[in-house]
């Protein structure tokens, strides 16, 4: 069953995506499949193993199933400090 989610992009992933965020309707079985889908559409380029994923402001497992209204962010390696 397809759900509507918001995806936001940061740092070099935003540069690659060319957008800050997007609303997508997805039938992806999990967040890993969702990343593959968006990578295919936008050419994000990062191997998923180098990223983490966040749902609604908390780190999440790639096996999590997207739910309607989720705010999803693919997190490239951080460089604060």
């Amino acid at each position: 069953m397809a759900v509507d989610v918001t995806i936001r992009y940061f740092a070099s992933l935003r540069d690659r995506a060319g957008i800050n965020d997007e609303q997508v309707r997805t039938g992806a079985a999990d967040l890993a499949a969702l990343y593959a889908e968006r990578d295919g559409s936008l050419g994000l380029g990062w191997p998923r193993e180098h990223l983490r994923v966040s749902v609604n402001g908390a780190f999440a497992d790639w096996a999590r199933v997207p739910a309607a209204g989720d705010e999803i962010v693919f997190i490239p390696p951080v460089s604060g400090g």
Binding site: A11, R16, G57, V73, P77, G80
Partner: protein, 173 residues
Amino acid sequence: MSVAMAIKPSLDAGPGRRLPAGSGFALSEVVIDPAALRAAMADPCAGAFITFEGWVRNHHDGRAVAGLRYESYAALANNEGTAILAEAMARFDLLAVHCVHRVGELAVGELAVWVGVSACHRDGAFDACRFVIDEVKARVPVWKYEHYVEGDGGWLHPGPGQGCCAPALPKPG
């Protein structure tokens, strides 16, 4: 931008993890004032006070740096930052622990991140301060874009296990 809500400190570290007064994690869009942060942690019970400050350096990996920009995903940054401070309070014998991370454009020499730890005694306070900055660097979603003196720039995305920084992937042609 993602930092609109960033300067509100996030004091609730989740169920059962409220931080003591004087403790908290915040992102700041404006210059960090270490004297004000220090004064806020004054405590007649405290015998030791340790700070870590990260300053913007004029060089990195052999390149001259003109300045940098920090970007953050504020919702996750506040949650992770607050969780780190709650972990530090649980692991070490502290009175308070506070951390502020800048976002936006920073010049060389500017204060990028400030960590302050107060405790009765210094034992553990050094380890706690180190723990916080190490965890912030590893877990808090803040990204650095370096402006080089030569005019170009780039995002820093350190590889796993790297102490330093890997270049961003090349743009697909």
